[in-house]
Amino acid sequence: MALADSKKVQTMVNICAEQAQIVRAAIVKMKAVRTVYLAAAPAVTDTVLDGGNAATLSSAINALDTLVNTTDAAIWTALINSYVPSHRNQALEV
């Protein structure tokens, strides 16, 4: 017999909530390392950050931060708050 739709929804919510927390933690870490990087002001010649790529990367981090923590913050936070630990995310096969 088919599983209840509520459980399929919970699997979607749980997995997205887990990944949302990872993304948010990643943004925090990227912003932290950027701060330290800017303070250190290393020479970027002949590295992947040469040619203005450091500024491009910084803008990308900002854009991601804005999207996750401002523009779409409500749904991301709602997902995280709706996480059910005892649901084991098996109602949808991924």
């Binding site: 739709d5 059910v84 630990p85 005892s86 649901h87 084991r88 109602a91």
Partner: protein
């Protein structure tokens, strides 16, 4: 009419080899955790008391780990073997499962009780060797739509005395 009770202790349960419920403790009190997606199974065996007459009923006391809405459903199956029956006890011969569902309490952790009349009871009689199988009907899309674990705290059987 007087009733008898058979307590099926949580710690006396045999847990299914393939799909066992989790065994956990809260404040040193044991509970079985039944998953919301995979039907998990616990078993008890005992000798039916000599004063058993009829109306075998399962009483399941549970709470939900997190759910505060929708329903949970349990199934109870009975296998009864009398002295002299042609039944190999190494094989299963459970009668049809009896089911019962309830809307879960509005607060996680609050106790609720589901009473299931075991009308399919393998013609159990006093003195029979009995096996009882308890499962959450987790793959019932209609009667079990509460998410997260169901925590079973106590299971007993009641019956009318002879």
């Amino acid at each position: 009419m007087a009733t008898g009770t058979i307590i099926l202790p949580i710690l006396a349960a045999s847990l299914d080899a393939s799909n066992p419920p989790g065994l956990d403790y809260s404040q040193n009190r044991p509970k079985l955790l039944f998953d919301d997606t995979t039907p998990e199974i616990a078993y008890w065996v005992f000798r039916m008391p000599s004063n058993y007459s009829s109306a075998l009923t399962a009483k399941i006391q549970y709470s939900m780990a997190s759910a505060t809405a929708n329903e949970v459903e349990f199934e109870v199956s009975v296998m009864a073997v009398s002295d002299g029956d042609s039944q190999d006890l190494d094989s299963d011969s459970y009668d049809t499962a009896n089911s019962g569902s309830a809307t879960v309490p509005g607060t996680a952790g609050y106790l609720d009780e589901i009473s299931i009349s075991l009308s399919s009871n393998d013609s159990v009689a006093a003195g029979d060797w009995c096996a009882v199988k308890l499962a959450r009907d987790a793959d019932d899309g209609t009667n079990d739509d509460a998410t997260g674990d169901a925590e079973v705290w106590a299971v007993s059987l009641e019956y009318t005395l002879e």
